[in-house]
């Protein structure tokens, strides 16, 4: 979704700051989230993601800057605002002795409007477990129940703080489908994650936060000029083969790599394969790659990716 079409801003953050004692955890960040958008905040552990999220949710008070969520200041903790927001916290508990259905109905009852319990259970794929007590659910199922609870009051805006941390790959795929479904029913989603593929798959827009500041912002496909970054052409040559023209670097595993501008990729690959045909050389393991979101992220945050 382009900036122009976002007529309604669901979240507005301007120069947000948060200090814990002498430590400044969030150092003046600004961003907006439009209605119907999936907005992802990406960053390593300790970058300020959860602090920012909890300020937006009303759990923390900010030290400076302006924040509005659905037109209101979340720090005031108004009931009218909470009625329109669903929250999935990073780590949180559910009463272990109630069933899935009872739990969802209990939370739904706090809200003026609510979605039918059966529908919510279907959205998160817990239909077979609807009469199971919470303490008999797996970790992944409890996480899905977290999402179901957040949906129970039919909120306009959902906060998902690292919703798939600790999931196996299959469960993550399922969870992503749940989030995709939310968008089709018109929800706005504020997501934090440290998984690149998650942001890539789900988000319309991403901000990368590192050490309390935003270091990049944009759609995942073009984040930090990723679409214009250099392409890598990699291949291996048999022993004793003469080298093609042009610069190539030798990698530790003995393969060759050519870095080219994105625009010159086609010509470079063409020249290389023509040369190989002419000389009867086999280009083993030939691959052409653009930098992944992960590459961009590592470059921006200078951090190891937490997995």
């Amino acid at each position: 979704m382009g900036t122009e079409e976002m007529s309604e801003r669901i979240i507005e953050v301007a120069d947000l700051r948060k200090s814990y004692g002498d430590v400044e955890a969030v150092k003046g960040i600004s961003f907006d989230v439009g209605r119907g958008e999936v907005f992802a905040m990406l960053g390593p552990n300790g970058a300020g993601k959860t602090t920012t999220t909890e300020i937006l949710e009303g759990y923390r008070e900010r030290s400076g800057g302006a924040v509005t969520v659905l037109g209101q200041d979340p720090a005031k903790r108004e009931r009218a605002l909470k009625e329109r927001v669903g929250i999935v916290l990073q780590s949180t508990g559910i009463d272990p002795f109630l069933t899935v259905t009872e739990t969802i109905e209990m939370y739904a009852g706090y809200y003026p409007s609510r979605r039918p319990t059966g529908e919510v259970i279907d959205v998160v794929g817990l239909a077979e477990k609807k009469d199971t007590r919470v303490n008999k659910l797996s970790g992944g199922q409890q996480r899905r129940l977290d999402v179901a609870i957040a949906l129970a009051g039919d909120p306009e805006l959902l906060f998902l703080d690292e919703p798939t941390t600790g999931f196996d790959p299959n469960a993550r795929r399922n969870a992503w489908e749940v989030v995709k479904n939310l968008v089709t029913i018109g929800k706005t989603v504020f997501l934090t994650t440290h998984f690149m593929d998650e942001a890539q798959y789900l988000a319309d827009r991403v901000v990368v936060i590192a050490d309390g500041v935003i270091v990049a912002e944009g759609p995942p496909a073009s984040l930090a000029g990723r679409d214009q970054m250099r392409t890598r052409v990699r291949f291996r040559l048999p022993e004793g083969t003469p080298l093609p023209d042009g610069d190539s670097t030798i990698l530790p595993d003995g393969s060759r790599e050519i870095d080219v501008d994105a625009a010159a990729t086609t010509k470079t690959v063409h020249d290389l394969t023509v040369w190989a045909m002419d000389h009867g050389v086999i280009l083993e393991g030939l691959e052409v790659t653009q930098p992944t979101l992960e590459d961009v992220y590592l470059q921006l945050t200078g951090a190891e990716v937490g997995t």
Binding site: G58, Y59, K82, L98, Y107, G109, Y110, Y111
Partner: protein
Amino acid sequence: MNDVALTARQVKYTNTAFWRNPQAAFFTFAFPLMFLVIFTSLLGSGTVTLNGFEFNQSTYYVAGMSAFAIITACYTNLAISVTFQRDAGILKRTRGTPLPGYDYLAARVIHAILMAVILVSICSAFGAAFYGATIPTGVQLLETAVVVLVGAGSFAALGLAITSVIPNAEAAPAVVNATILPLLFISGVFFPITNSAPKWVDVLGRVFPVRHLIDAYLGAYYGPPRFDFLWKDVGVVALWGVIGIIFAARRFSWEPRR
């Protein structure tokens, strides 16, 4: 929904979860009744002289264990279970919903009071059936009801207050027992405080609410001439309850204390 409806609804869910938690239900319900049987079996055949009257110890224990039941349901169980909910993140989640925090806590307190009322009723029925402790009627019954409700409410408030000094769920039973067990011993729950008791036990006991709860209960339940029902005792218990509410209102934490 208005606050009353929301709170009533929350009491219902609290109750469902309570009875499905075997430990909570067992310790809250079994302990006072078990102690009543044990104490009366061991010591109940004797008599004790209080206020110059001879008194069957078994009859005394019906009152002592009723007070103990109120404290177990409202102070011990509430403090431990709310601390568990806090550490598990259940309170934090609730805080993110439109349910007002006082509605949630009111539901917990009301549920604890209901459990106390049931327990006291069981103790009374037990005492009437086996130990000849006649259940009062008329004004004395009303006075007893007031003592139970004020006592339950006050100890529930103190139970919420104490959670704010409990660092984590693992420490909850230790902190709760360390604060209440000594008081139970010096306040006459397990042994009647007779004239032969050391002076300091008598004086110290009267500072805290447990002794006043038992005195008020004895006064209401058995009445004159053996015991005087003094509103002063009820007042002291209520005052402690108010202190508990003020402390909880200022210091209660909805998030794990890490």
